[in-house]
């Protein structure tokens, strides 16, 4: 039961109603056990997965799906690794067949070095997936006009990159993120670029609806401790945003009364 002073709505993504605004990836962990623990500690209710060819040479041991409790988490498949609309659409269809979910995180990338989203392919794939009744969460650049086009195409959420995937640079252009929030009426989730807890808090303080991250937890020296840090940062940033921060001012504003100080204590 949430205390009254901490009340907050849910983040609604298609059929998913999320209390936690942290979305967490499942890549790069040392083991499936560590993945499971990190997800649990992070408090997330929505986790991303990727679609890849079955390894036919390896013996069929446990798989990631054995470690992700679908009663507890909404599973959000991505189209990572796709560099054109057609393969992203095929990947989304394959993921839906395994998971029986309408959710998809659409990624259509431009090139391998930057992993920046290709806007033309992204918009094309988004339109097709919306037509196929997917709930499409779109990884995109922090370009406000691109986000408007995506929203008009009927996507469920825009997910602008704070900075390049896995770069740990945080949100490089907070003003662009704020403009996106003004221009679209759908959830805005900062996806990619988070390096540490303060990046998550800063993003949430902008008023975004959520943050999606993976590497910042999985590749931290102590992933489980970082998972805790991210949970706290997400909640801290959200509450700070909802609280309404004080305006920034150039000069000081004393917290203690200036009157009634003892003789000789005032300014010279």
């Amino acid at each position: 039961m949430t205390e009254e002073h901490l009340r907050d709505g849910s983040l609604v993504l298609g059929d998913a109603r999320l209390k936690s605004r942290l979305l967490v990836g499942t890549g790069k962990y040392a083991s499936f056990e560590e993945t499971r623990e990190a997800l649990e500690i992070s408090g997330t209710e929505c986790v991303t997965v990727a679609v890849r060819r079955v390894n036919l040479d390896a013996s069929q041991g446990p798989s990631l799906l054995d470690f992700v409790d679908r009663e507890r988490y909404h599973v959000l498949p991505n189209t990572a690794g796709c560099f054109d609309a057609a393969s992203a659409i095929r990947t989304a269809e394959l993921a839906r067949d395994v998971l029986d979910t309408r959710l998809v995180k659409l990624e259509v990338l431009g090139d391998e070095k930057t992993l920046l989203p290709d806007p033309v392919g992204t918009l094309e794939a988004a339109r097709e997936l919306v037509a196929q009744e997917f709930d499409v969460l779109v990884y995109c650049s922090d370009d406000p006009r691109m986000c408007v086009h995506l929203a008009e195409a009927g996507v469920t959420s825009v997910m602008p990159a704070g900075s390049p995937i896995g770069s740990g640079q945080g949100v490089l252009n907070p003003n662009a993120i704020r403009i996106i929030q003004e221009l679209v009426d759908i959830p805005v989730i900062v996806d990619a670029g988070v390096g540490t807890a303060s990046d998550v808090a800063a993003a949430m303080e902008l008023g975004v609806d959520g943050v999606l991250l993976n590497t910042a937890i999985a590749s931290a020296r102590e992933p489980l401790r970082m998972a805790e840090a991210m949970k706290l940062a997400c909640a801290a940033g959200r509450h700070a945003y909802l609280s309404g921060r004080i305006p920034r001012k150039l000069y000081a504003n004393a917290s203690s009364p200036l009157e009634g100080t003892i003789d000789g204590a005032g300014p010279n």
């Binding site: 990836g25 499942t26 079955v54 395994v98």
Partner: protein, 66 residues
């Protein structure tokens, strides 16, 4: 007959369905998805679809990702 399976040539018996191949390979059917000649074979149709010589098959599953 010969098919392309995840990009590699593979010999399979004649009159093999998508479902029987998945089982034959020791895969857990509920954890894979199948594409035949770049079109999804829906889960409920796997038993009905018979493979032909020269077919290109993709067998995928879900792995860790962000």
């Amino acid at each position: 007959m010969k098919i392309q399976l995840n990009g590699e040539a593979r010999e399979i018996p004649a009159s093999c369905t998508v479902a029987s191949l998945v089982t034959e390979l020791g895969l857990r059917p509920e954890q894979v998805a199948v594409e035949l000649n770049r079109r999804l074979v829906r889960r409920d149709l796997r038993e009905k679809v018979e493979l032909q010589d020269g077919d290109e098959l993709e067998l995928v599953t879900l792995v860790g990702g962000g």
